[in-house]
Assembly symmetry: C2
Homo-oligomer: 213 residues x 2
């Protein structure tokens, strides 16, 4: 198995956490997003979306989209499970993950920020305010849910990490890049602390990757 990765990609960060939780250590390749390596012909041939992460399986299958990769990993390496046991519980965990993956992260990824300042001519301050706005709106809704729902435990769902935690920790790392008061999200910070105390999460952090700058 080979992971195409980039240290600062929070979608790749999710997959790194999940691989560590499963105890799977794939071969690694690094796609330097800031230098535009995702638009090289060879990479686009592998992934026409020009995004990371990407997994090439030992059988040569190419898997893209971080949440699809984590679900595949959970199906092929069932222990420890990253989704709970019942359909309603799985729907809860997936909805928490998707609230991050669909409603926060796409609005603050690199290509979108570049369009704002480039094509739309937004100032750096306006771009940062955009980034902070969507983080805040999305994280506030997550805080409300996680604080009040009885299924929340030490982690987003119960007392073991799931797909939701795999998404939460990278998104909070993103939120720290802009001026946003995270103290308004005490439940998220409490869960994040429980996560990063685990080696699987800590070892996946951007600063600890071989391509970190």
């Amino acid at each position: 198995m080979k992971l195409y990765d980039y240290f600062r990609s929070s979608a790749a960060y999710r997959v790194r956490i999940a691989l560590n939780l499963k105890g799977v250590a794939p071969e690694r390749a690094f796609v330097h997003l800031r230098r535009g390596a995702q638009r090289d012909a060879d990479y686009l041939d592998l992934n026409p979306e020009g995004l990371v992460p990407l997994i090439m399986t030992d059988d040569g299958a190419v898997l893209t989209q971080s949440l699809a990769i984590v679900e595949w990993l959970d199906e092929t390496h069932p222990a420890p499970p990253l989704l709970p046991g019942t359909p309603v519980e799985r729907a809860r965990v997936r909805s928490l993950a998707l609230a991050i993956a669909c409603d926060i992260h796409p609005l603050n990824n690199l290509r979108v920020l570049k369009y704002l300042t480039g094509t739309l001519g937004a100032t750096d301050a306006a771009r940062d305010a955009w980034y902070a706005h969507w983080c805040e709106v999305g994280l506030r809704a997550l805080e409300t849910r996680l604080a009040r729902e009885p299924a929340t435990g030490r982690f987003c769902h119960g007392d073991a990490p799931t797909l939701a935690d795999v998404c939460l920790v990278p998104q909070l790392a993103n939120a720290r890049r802009v001026d946003l008061d995270l103290a308004q999200f005490p439940t998220l910070l409490r869960i994040e602390a429980a996560c990063v105390a685990l080696a699987a999460f800590a070892a996946a952090a951007p600063a600890r990757q071989p391509d970190a700058e």
Copy 2:
């Protein structure tokens, strides 16, 4: 079961298609997004994200996020399946769905377009160009994949509709709202035609909903 819906929401449109494919006809409630009904206190109490769709199950569980809802529906109502049989095939279908749900749709939903013209002061023309740009980038990558991957059939994956088709048809409906030449996506249009020939897709169209304007 009760579906909280809005005719023009393409995320709700996905769930309507999936329900129809499963032959499930829930009670309906309509949340008028253009009038801001998603920010009413009662609705925010139900869904702190202030988004549709939402399903309330017969047991009172609240399910949000369209893809989480469709996965739940597929687990609780297995026939006909909306995901294929092997982990790699499921990863393919999920990645196609997520390429739409994460990389296209979040950039052209209503609240984001309002931020562009409101807070950022973009012109209507700049907003429409943004919308068309992200549709085009995302749909082009999908066209490349679907045209070349042998697993593509009459539908996105093989010869029966899956989660990927459930996402594709609403996204193409969105793309038609802006000036974008869809003829550059012949595979997507061919699959869309196969989908809308089915009553389950046709009956889920925005114009055919009770709250359509």
